[in-house]
């Protein structure tokens, strides 16, 4: 209810979507660094795969030599060879 109200307010006032603090935001710097904001925690962490829980599903990041440079309440910064990322609902690790 609260989320819907916030969504309506953001769209009616034509505010930038970042105002909605639950909205995950992914920023990629080249291919070697990715910043994910507004996550809800990490589900899996290995050299090849990282799974983050977000309000809109599970974000899976795949690549090689992945390292979590920073991990805090709102943001996580990943460094390494990033092959891609997808949204999904699969919570299992190692897929």
């Amino acid at each position: 209810m609260k989320g819907k109200l916030l969504n309506k307010m953001v769209s009616s006032l034509k505010l930038p979507p970042e105002i909605d603090l639950r909205l995950p935001k992914l920023t990629m710097y080249g291919r070697g660094e990715l910043l994910i904001e507004n996550h809800r925690g990490v589900l899996c962490y290995s050299d090849e795969e990282l799974k983050f829980l977000t309000e809109y599903g599970i974000v899976t990041i795949r690549g090689g030599n992945l390292e979590l440079l920073e991990f805090s309440m709102e943001r996580a910064s990943i460094r390494g060879r990033i092959d891609g990322w997808t949204y999904g609902d699969d919570k299992r690790c190692g897929n």
Binding site: V42, C44, Y45, E67, L68, F71, M73
Partner: protein
């Protein structure tokens, strides 16, 4: 950097629920960094030292083990340093030495001297206790400066300024005429230029000229040899006086009616210059001896971290081409050249009383003449020979 200031620890975690432990710490607001997966059940991370107790609490709940691999940052350095009294004594001695050194003069900078050697000024300063390594003077700087100035008669004034450990000595040298003759020696006053006398005032010696007389360079204006009535032997004195004359400066310039002007011939060639960070990397060779670059345009290439600028334009050949001048144009050029020729010879301290210029045409040339009349001092003291 701020982590180093507040102290941080590198932790090695072992267990099966490491992701849950990370999320638990995140929930507590702990900022984790440089998290590396070492194996399926091992992880290494960096975190603020003050939050280490939080990890212990959660690690026990989630059956994980955590141990500190490395401690770094200011709190740990301070804790180690507090146990080293020699270090503190060393710091104290260093501070004391610094405080002591800052009360002394270590740099002496001398400025404003041209004739007086720096070594002479340094000797004068040393005599009054100002040398490298000396303590700050107890006397006032004004008194010291006066004492230093009195050391050499060529020094008119000395200013001292102490800024930190640097003493700046500003020197003003006395002006004196190298050619001046000792006022006790007998001498004549002679004319250095041709001119018509406008003023002649004899203070010592005798003169045979009067106002309105025309004198030539080298003429004896005031003689230092005075013969008194009833005295056989002439007396030799230091002739002195004020001698002013109207001096004439003439100049003539002939201007041809065919002049020349630097113009473009019409021949062009492409121009290109490549610059990196303002430094010229390559530039096309100029095909002409005399040229100008026209229509220069700048293009900035968008190469990351490498600002490359390309300048493109065209070389235009230039040459001195003959042009026909009208008589008024030629007269104007000739008058300017003639006036410049005369004015260049007028001394800077001379007063210009009259300036006339005229022009006429003769044999296809415009001839301009200029005459400048000045009133200036023409007397020069010349030592008498025995």
């Amino acid at each position: 950097m701020w982590q180093l200031g507040r102290g941080c620890v590198i932790i090695r975690l072992k267990g099966r629920n490491l992701e849950r432990l990370l999320n638990a710490l995140r929930g507590e607001g702990v900022a984790l960094s440089r998290i590396t997966r070492l194996s399926a059940d091992e992880m290494r991370l960096s975190m603020p030292a003050k939050d280490f107790k939080k990890i212990r609490r959660h690690a026990n709940k989630l059956r994980c083990k955590a141990h500190i691999e490395q401690r770094s940052g200011a709190p740990f350095v301070a804790r180690r340093a507090i146990k080293r009294p020699v270090l503190w004594i060393g710091c104290l001695v260093a501070f004391a030495a610094l405080a002591l050194c800052s009360t002394r003069i270590w740099v002496i900078r001398i400025e404003g001297n041209t004739r007086v050697a720096e070594a002479t000024i340094q000797r004068a300063l040393t005599q009054h206790g100002l040398h490298i390594g000396a303590a700050r003077p107890k006397r006032t700087f004004d008194a010291l400066a006066d004492a230093v100035a009195a050391y050499d008669e060529r020094i008119a004034w000395v200013g001292l300024k102490l800024s930190g450990v640097c003493l700046t000595v500003s020197v003003l040298e006395a002006e004196y005429d190298m050619l001046a003759i000792d006022p006790t020696l007998p001498c004549n006053v002679v004319a250095v230029k041709d001119g018509v006398l406008t003023k002649i005032l004899t203070l010592e010696g005798v003169t045979s000229f009067k106002v309105g007389d025309y004198v030539k360079a080298g003429d004896l204006l005031i003689s230092g040899t005075v013969t008194l009535p009833d005295v056989e032997e002439p007396m030799r004195v230091h002739a002195r006086g004020v001698v002013k004359a109207n001096v004439y400066y003439f100049s003539e310039y002939a201007q041809s009616l065919v002049g020349s002007e630097r113009l473009a011939t019409g021949a062009t060639a492409a121009y290109r210059r490549v610059e990196i960070c303002g430094l010229t990397l390559s530039e096309s060779d100029a095909p002409f001896a005399d040229y100008e670059i026209e229509n220069l345009s700048r293009t900035l290439l968008r190469v990351p971290f490498l600002p490359i600028t390309v300048w493109e334009g065209r070389y235009c050949e230039m040459a001195e081409l003959p042009t026909e001048l009208s008589i008024p144009e030629a007269a104007e050029l000739a008058l300017v050249a003639a006036e410049n020729g005369a004015m260049l010879r007028v001394p800077s301290d001379a007063a210009i009383t009259q300036k006339t210029s005229d022009w006429f045409v003769a044999d296809g040339l415009v001839i301009a003449t200029c005459a400048v009349v000045t009133e200036e001092s023409i007397g020069l003291t010349e030592e008498l020979s025995y």
